[in-house]
């Protein structure tokens, strides 16, 4: 590994082209026009393509060639072509260089992690802005701020963008950055695939945003089939971007799984694996198994729209149940793709600031694996009133309720870890503790939805919407910010301002609850999801919710202000281990050197041995100096 030769300076023409985001964009735009032209030629002689007001084949070909142009422009073709021309394999020329490496193909897992952090972060803020615009419409019970079509597009963009981006919210930035360091590896198993997974994300995001120019999306993030078939060209953007994201998620899952299974340092036994890495492993299994189903279902929608097939058209033999089942077979593991990394983060943070070992480590692992297994068996609870075979309902009611048992393990881990602890309320700890409060409400409200009699009222209402925002925002997003405050000093090398962090936390926590708790009542009081008009007697409630939602937006601005203030103006270098954590990632220098470790460390002890008398240091960084440590 360390014998990799340093590549010679690339030739002048390559440096002039650059192979960065700009060349990617240029070739992507060129590819769009080329593909649209080819699609136009393909449509000649097919009246059903020319008969409608748009040629979907041209649009899909345009997107396809745009993505190819984007990836070629970023330099993804250079390595295979170079190998065909007989050049030696090397990663090194991708891993050195100045700040510009953040804007080009880079195989250093730490660079990819930071690319993910900012890339996903930008889309998170666009999705959040959509939510603010939606809440503005809902200030009055009649259409007022936006026309109905634009409101629906906002709903769909918010949902789709948030689901797509938050799927990689933790595994993208923190999985890529920290998993290799935490298991004592120098890189991921497949560094080029790792870079590819990131660069598909901006492509998918930009394609999704292009829906605004093509008539919008009218289906929400679920894209139910007969409605999707009616939709205008914006629907093609939805389909294409979801396919790209699903490919990216599958590859992320396979890559992380391979890394964790094969690249652990000597002594990193399964019982010493940090709990965050366990959660990443569980999530990556879900991703690799569930996301391909999404590719399949989206491809069917694509065929129905572009080539007049009839997978989902009832009048010619199709069935929309096929779409609903395929979609939720992906969709329900997907919500645990969102939840599991959050479990990992909070259980990783808790012992550090409780100064105690993680209580019930094996139970936590069992809980995560149990959730992973069960999450493939619950999807039809989204279809309780759909007219599916009613005899199946008790089974899906049972599996859905069973999944709360392994989820409950995570709460017991927290309870045990806090028992007679020495809690310090740092900003990451506050976010981790808030996770449990929010997830408790989110999880318990899910029981109402799992029980068919009460689901009949709550299905498709604001109750559902409040429920999954409690688990995704209250769970995942709080865990994400916990991880940001916990790990950013190591990733970027600078301390974040603690006071601003605490203001961010309290505003976010209080107003998150004030926003979403009343929405349970809105659902109970007969307010369906995704409407721009509602019953007039619910206006006071909605104004209250909108006002609280704006304060969430404000808290996010405070977070951005904190980032800019701490990273641009103050620039207080962070200590190597500011939290006095035992985690392996905190024992390496800041900034982390390109290959993480001079020599592969030998792991000598578990990561959570706080207060254990005579505990060994977590790893031996100069193995050979000590005789046969470890295992």
């Amino acid at each position: 590994m360390s014998a990799t030769p340093i590549a010679a300076q690339p030739p002048v023409w390559r440096r002039l082209i650059g192979f960065n985001m700009l060349t990617g964009l240029a070739l992507g735009i060129g590819g769009w026009f080329l593909g649209a032209w080819i699609g136009g030629q393909m449509a000649v002689g097919h009246p059903y393509l020319q008969g409608t007001d748009q040629n979907d084949v041209g649009i899909y070909m345009g997107y396809l060639f745009a993505v190819i142009g984007w990836l070629v422009g970023l330099g993804f073709a250079n390595y295979p072509i170079g190998r065909l021309l007989g050049r030696a394999p090397s990663l090194r020329h991708h891993e050195t260089g100045s700040w510009t490496r953040y804007f080009r193909l880079c195989t250093d897992h730490k660079v990819v992690g930071i690319q993910y952090l900012f890339g996903v972060g930008i889309f998170f803020f666009i999705g959040g802005l959509n939510a603010m615009l939606m809440r503005t419409e809902l200030l009055r019970p009649v259409e007022q701020a936006w026309p109905a079509s634009q409101y629906l597009t906002l709903v769909s963009l918010h949902g789709t963008m948030m689901i797509m981006m938050t799927s990689a919210f933790i595994l993208g930035p923190f999985g890529n950055y920290f998993v290799p360091i935490m298991i004592g590896a120098r890189r991921m198993a497949f560094p080029r695939i790792e870079a590819l997974t990131f660069w598909l994300v901006p492509a998918a995001g930009l394609i999704l945003l292009s829906a605004i120019a093509f008539g919008g999306i009218a289906t929400g993030w679920t894209g139910y089939a007969p409605l999707a078939d009616e939709g205008r060209a914006g629907m093609d953007a939805y389909v294409m971007s979801f396919i790209l994201i699903a490919i990216s998620l599958t590859l992320v899952g396979l890559n992380l799984m391979a890394t964790i299974l094969t690249m652990r340092a000597p002594g990193m036994s399964w019982t010493r694996l940090p709990i965050f890495v366990w959660s990443v492993l569980a999530t990556s299994i879900l991703m690799a198994l569930a996301a391909p189903v999404l590719v399949a279902s989206m491809t069917m929608v694509l065929m129905d729209r572009a080539a007049n097939t009839s997978f989902f058209v009832a009048s010619v033999g199709g069935s929309q149940y096929l779409y609903e089942n395929l979609f939720w077979f992906f969709g329900h593991p997907e919500v645990y793709i969102l939840a599991l990394p959050g479990f990992g983060i909070v259980l990783e943070i808790l012992p550090v600031f409780a100064r105690k070992p993680l209580w019930g480590y094996r139970l936590a692992v069992a809980g995560m694996l149990g959730v992973t297994l069960l999450s493939f068996m619950v999807w039809q609870h989204h279809l309780f009133v759909s007219g599916m075979n009613a005899g199946l309902r008790p089974f899906y009611m049972l599996t859905t309720e069973l999944i709360s048992i392994p989820t409950g393990f995570i709460f017991l881990n927290a309870i045990g870890t806090l028992w007679r602890a020495r809690i310090r309320f740092t900003v990451p700890m506050l976010f981790a503790l808030a996770f449990f409060f929010n997830f408790l409400i989110g999880g318990l409200s899910g029981i109402f939805l799992s029980d068919v009699p009460s689901d009949v009222t709550t299905h498709g209402s604001y109750f559902v919407m409040a429920h999954f925002h409690y688990t995704i925002v209250g769970g995942l997003v709080f865990a994400f910010f916990g991880a940001v405050y916990y790990w950013l000093p190591k990733m970027l090398g600078f301390e974040l301002n603690e006071t601003l962090g605490k203001i961010h936390f309290w505003l976010f926590f209080v107003f998150f609850n004030l926003t979403f708790f009343p929405l349970f009542a809105a659902g109970f009081l007969d307010m369906p999801r995704r409407v721009s008009t509602y019953a007039p007697h619910l206006q006071t409630l909605n104004i209250f919710v909108s006002a609280s939602a704006y304060v969430i937006g404000l808290s996010m601005l405070i977070f951005i202000a904190n980032l800019i203030w701490s990273l641009v103006f103050v620039r207080q270098p962070a200590a190597e281990n500011p939290w006095v954590s035992r985690g392996l990632e905190w024992q390496v220098p800041t900034p982390v050197p390109i290959e993480n470790f001079d020599r592969i460390p030998v792991i000598t002890s578990g990561p959570y041995e706080y207060g254990v008398p005579n505990a060994l240091p977590v790893a031996d960084f100069a193995p050979g100096a000590l005789p046969a440590a470890g295992r």
Partner: protein
Amino acid sequence: MTTIAGEPVPRHGARIFAIWLVLTAIAVPLIVLVLGPHLPPPHMTVESVDQRNANIVMTALLVPIALLVLVYFIYSFVFFRETTDAIVDGPPIKGHAGAQLLWIVLTSTIVLALAVWGSYTLIAGAHGAGGGQGPDPAAKPTGYQHALPVQVIGQQWEWTFRYPTYGGIETRDLAIPEHTLVAFHVTSLDVTHSFWAYELGVKADAVPGVDNIAYVNPRHTGLFQIRCAELCGLWHGHMSKKGRILASSAFQAWISAAQKKNASIVKYLPKYSRVYYPAPLRRAG
């Protein structure tokens, strides 16, 4: 006070349990007696009463669980916090087999009991609980053969209703008689809708090509709200109207008036059928 290594240690567990017990003893009666009657849905049908009872039972069961976790967390924030700036390690407790076993047994018992109770109320007690059961319902109420069939047709963006036992007439208003078992046959002409009659406790997806059946037993007369609960395009939020439960005689009067009004147009309607297939979809604007 017990002691650990000679130091007196307060009995945290007993204290937490006592606080939780007091709060639960206050909360559960409040939920059942004060909050319960306000939980949805309003009790216009046998099915909606079953749903409300389910909501009351679950709220009364889940609030104590939430209280236990909350009381524990808040107690630990007060008593297990580090008061100095120093970073001091706590006791290295890595687990407790008994506590873990107890937790697993307790949560499994609650979950299994909920699932059994939920299945029982769904099938034996509530006969499908007002939810759409598809073309071949698994849980049929007694006397379902004599239920009044009412077809609910969803289309962008309007609900219409057909009464096959009254000449297959189609109306824009929904009226059903009191104290009569009604079978809603929900279907769609275009995309997926969801027929939601809030006060009736009925929700059934309207799916093209599918006859989705939901049973309901109206208990007393009054108005109820109809909405669409599945996103169906631009005017999804406008698919709302009021339906009526009428006394039997009033229903007879209403339906014969509707038949008279429909007499001249009923021959232009497609023949009554469990599902309809209009011409293949064209892209809407």
